[in-house]
């Protein structure tokens, strides 16, 4: 039909009369009006809701499911958190307990697996991220032009918990590990991370001061260490800076030239006689060095604690003169070290010095030949040390600790994608960027200063998780809506005993009033718990209370007056306000407790409560390995402590393994009477 034809047809049929015109115009208007409802009718979410109704109609519980179902757009609104969440419009059955089984229920209808929060109240986007208000699949889940934050990959999901939960949670081991690693690997020496409560993440790695490094080691070792720290110790947390031979040469020259001696640190070695290596190994074992220090065994496994540095090749590192002084008293070289002042005898010092000195690796320094350093090299070394930010972690004479050496990571989890320079071929997402940056920092250009860390894949995931928790929301959340972290304790014991406890580094293993390590028992209420004579004997010669424990407290060769000082302090200060330590002293528990009650306690111990499953009272018959041995519990613990412990162990030591048995007063009393008769032999009480 030609244009003329159309015109003629229009004139004849459509525009023939006002009635015709009105009719056709109405028709057009109707069609135009119908566009929106039609589009709405074919919306994705309606499609899913229709599919859901069809799906549940085939199920035997369809009536109940139908009853719970509400059609239309569903929305969770959390105004304080700025969350609008319409995910449940398509994920209609997130709270249906019957629809959890992945084998029978197709997505998006599967119910959410149980978590600590009710999904109905919180919605999905607050944890899974994505675009909450969207009602289309692509818009809700992926990155669009208007929305950068796609659904968070499942492997980093715990980061969302960390936005509100500032403390560690039992259910988020990965997040806890990541937060721990931020301190342990010293990330926060260079990258500052401020938290919403105004505090900052603190490093926990305690990098050694390099101010007196020449006393301790040789330039050759520093060179080898700088080139590849893990070739010296596989568990070393120091990263690899990928230095050239020249740069490592110059930095080592600078550090040696810049070191100042510590008085008394280079005393000539004493007792240079050949010593029995077996005796050295046995002293190493008896001093429980392995509780803090690891050694790589023949199979390549690193065995031992990670409080102190790995000692596999320590003989190739330290000078024997320095080691000897260090073993005598580590506080001369490093006043704040976590290592206790052991009070070794002189023969013990030379024995250990010789034993550790033999832990060498001849290959480590075989190819390191350094000529005497020139002033230019030293100056260049200083420049390099400043450029690489060595002083951000280590104390170095003449270089100030740089502030904000690396970008701040306070809000890294919400970093806009446009501010990130991605590698070619890399997925444009924040999690991928962070993980790749941690895994291979130097891939982002040769000018990148960040060194190469030796982290396992699980550690990288954990660190990424912890960093992804640092979002704008985490930072701007009203304080009332957060679960705050426990404030760190800076408890200091007072007086002479306090000085003694610092010298012995008690807090490296024991916690008191919220401060200290978790390797050994918490001593906050120790004064209410133990009897004075036992504590004195224990400090003189510590034994283990647990049959299956490989660690125990080392012996510190304490003097009689030191022991009395510590005992007095512990017995006086570390008392619980919950009960009187001497409440049950005297009375029926003092000497001959009523035999009938003791016998009743024995019955309860062995039959009703089955205590022998975990504890040993009779070394011949009982075998329990879980709890402490109770053969001398009557001379170790106070009756009042045993009674209150039996009534509610968690009230005296939160988190203890011993279950609360909801014991009646009579049962607890009888058991206490029985346990107080377990005095052990006098000699065993001290040693065991």
């Amino acid at each position: 039909m030609s244009a003329q034809g159309i015109k003629r047809w229009l004139r004849r049929n459509v525009l023939a009369s006002p009635v015709h015109r009105f009719g056709w115009a109405s028709l057009l208007l109707l069609i135009a009006l119908a566009v929106a409802p039609t589009k709405d009718f074919f919306n994705e979410w309606r499609h899913y809701q229709r599919k859901y109704r069809k799906f549940i109609s085939t199920r035997p519980d369809s009536a109940a499911l139908q009853h719970h179902f509400t059609g239309g757009i569903q929305q969770v609104w959390l105004p304080e958190l700025g969350v609008v969440d319409r995910c449940t419009t398509c994920h209609v059955a997130v709270t249906e307990k019957n629809l959890q089984n992945a084998a029978y229920v197709p997505e998006p209808f599967r119910a959410h697996p149980p978590v600590g929060h009710n999904v109905k109240d919180w919605g999905c986007a607050i944890c899974h991220r994505g675009q909450g208000p969207a009602t289309e699949v692509a818009e809700a889940h992926s990155t669009t032009h208007a929305w950068e934050e796609p659904i968070l990959p499942a492997r980093y999901l715990e980061s969302s918990c960390g936005q509100c939960h500032r403390d560690s949670l039992t259910g988020t081991p990965q997040l806890n590990l990541g937060r721990n690693l931020l301190g342990r690997y010293g990330c926060v020496h260079c990258h500052s991370i401020k938290l919403a409560d105004g505090s900052a993440v603190q490093p926990t790695d305690d990098p050694p001061s390099l101010a007196h490094i020449a006393d301790k080691t040789t330039r050759e070792w520093i060179y080898a260490w700088l080139k590849d720290p893990q070739s010296y110790a596989v568990s070393a947390t120091m990263p690899n800076y990928k230095l050239t031979d020249e740069d490592a040469r110059d930095i080592s020259a600078f550090l040696m030239a810049n070191s100042t001696p510590v008085e008394g640190d280079t005393a000539p070695i004493s007792g240079g006689k050949a010593v029995d290596p077996a005796a050295g190994a046995s002293l190493y074992g008896l001093s429980f060095c392995a509780s803090c220090h690891a050694v790589q065994n023949a199979a390549g496994n690193v065995v031992g604690g990670d409080v102190g540095p790995e000692l596999t090749k320590i003989g190739s590192k330290v000078k024997p003169e320095w080691l000897q002084v260090w073993l005598r008293n580590p506080r001369i070289y490093a006043p704040e070290t976590a290592m206790p002042h052991y009070r070794f005898t002189e023969p013990q010092v030379s024995l250990l010095t010789a034993y550790l000195g033999n832990k060498t690796d001849t290959d480590l320094l075989a190819n390191v030949h350094l000529d005497a350093a020139t002033p230019e090299q030293i100056a260049h070394g200083k420049r390099l040390a400043t450029e690489y930010g060595c002083a951000a972690c280590h104390e170095i004479n003449g270089i100030k600790k740089p502030d904000n050496f690396a970008p701040e990571l306070t809000r890294i989890g919400s970093k806009p994608l446009v501010q990130i320079s991605f590698l070619p071929g890399m997925k444009h997402s924040t999690p991928d960027y962070i993980a790749t940056k941690i895994r291979q920092p130097r891939a982002f250009g040769s000018g990148t200063k960040m060194p190469q860390y030796s982290l396992a894949p699980a550690q990288i995931d954990a660190l990424t998780t912890a960093l992804l928790a640092l979002t704008d929301r985490a930072h701007d959340l009203p304080f009332a809506l957060t679960v705050p972290a426990k404030a760190p304790s800076n408890y200091q014991p007072a007086g002479k005993a306090g000085k003694l406890m610092a010298d012995l580094a008690c807090f490296s293993c024991h916690a008191i009033n919220g401060r200290g390590g978790d390797m050994a028992p918490d001593l906050t209420w120790e004064g209410s718990s133990v009897q004075r004579p036992w504590l004195q004997a224990f400090l003189k010669n510590p034994g283990t209370l647990r049959p299956a424990l490989i660690r125990r407290m080392p012996q510190f060769n304490l003097s009689e007056s030191d022991i009395n000082e510590l005992t007095d302090y512990i017995m006086t200060v570390y008392q619980t306000p919950a009960f009187d330590r001497d409440a049950f002293a005297g009375g029926s528990f003092a000497g001959g407790a009523m035999p009938a009650e003791v016998e009743q306690g024995r019955q309860l111990f062995y039959s009703k409560y089955g205590c022998q499953g975990c504890h040993i009272v009779d070394t011949k018959a009982d075998k329990g390995y879980v709890g402490p041995t109770l053969t001398q519990v009557g001379s170790r613990l106070t009756a009042a402590w045993i009674y209150h412990w039996l009534k509610n162990p968690q009230s005296l030591q939160p988190g203890t393994l011993e279950p609360n048995r909801n014991m009646s007063d009579e049962d607890a009393h009888a058991l206490t009477a029985f346990l107080m008769t377990q005095k052990g032999s006098g000699k065993q009480g001290a040693k065991k």
Binding site: P60, N101, A102, V115, G116, P153, R155, P457
Partner: protein, 244 residues
């Protein structure tokens, strides 16, 4: 104009080829120098790890020949259900005949069957099935509680850090992998035993009650963990279809 079309055509072709080779055949890059007859699992099977995350230990498989001697340079590739990632997904065995890969499980909790593939000299495929367990939030919580409260008696394996108490007990506890027994005990009965101790169901008093120590949610989490690690797998009773 023609140049414009030609560029467009080239781009389209490039895109199409890219689309076809999105899953690059690793065999093209790696030429096996050895061929084995059997695949065995060295370590890393039956691990439990949080959903989506890398397992703590790598999965290590070994290629052996007919005599059971390790074969170096054999090509091994790994496949698994949707969402499972391998790093690397394929590779050649080292001098001890082994290949190690880091595995990240998918985002749904439950069991994952991974398959390691290799081929004999005659191009006959050899497969090895490896099972791993992914823990969701609840199971993960249960896993933590198990490590703290239960494992010292219920896990017969000792580690240097934790000597098992299993052998010391007169009445042996059930390891949680013992599906033959535990799968027959209902959730309610397990809750009763954990909450009120063994005697609640006429079992040993050596199992103490944890109802005053653990919360209801924690006991549920423990049960979900027990269910996910049981072997053979636990199958909850399905819905009963009523007759109309």
């Amino acid at each position: 104009m023609t140049r414009y079309w030609r560029t467009l055509l080239a781009a389209g072709l490039a895109l199409a080829t890219a689309g076809c080779t999105r899953k690059p055949a690793p065999a093209a890059a790696l030429k096996p120098t050895g061929f084995g007859a059997a695949l065995v699992e060295s370590s890393g099977g039956k691990q439990a790890g949080a959903i989506g995350t890398a397992l703590a230990q790598p999965v290590i498989v070994q290629v052996n020949d007919e005599q059971g001697t390790a074969v170096a340079g054999a090509l091994v590739s790994f496949t698994g259900p949707v969402g499972v990632g391998f790093d690397p997904a394929s590779g050649l065995t080292d001098s001890s005949g082994q290949l190690s890969t880091n595995v990240a499980l998918g985002s749904m909790s439950g069991r994952y069957q991974l398959i390691a593939h290799t081929a004999t000299k005659a191009q006959k495929p050899v497969e090895l099935k490896i099972e791993e367990i992914a823990l969701g939030y609840q199971e993960q919580l249960g896993f933590q509680l198990n490590n703290k409260y239960c494992a010292s008696c219920h896990d017969p394996e000792s580690t240097p850090e934790r000597v098992s108490n299993y052998d010391n007990l007169e009445v042996k506890p059930h390891p949680f992998t013992e599906g033959d027994t535990l799968n027959k005990i209902s959730d309610d009965d397990l809750t009763a035993i954990i909450g009120h101790g063994g005697p609640a169901l006429n079992r040993s008093a050596l199992m103490p009650p944890y109802g005053y120590t653990l919360s209801k949610a924690e006991i549920e989490a423990l049960i979900s963990y027990i269910r996910v690690v049981s072997d053979p797998p636990y199958r909850p009773a399905g819905l009963v279809y009523a007759r109309k």
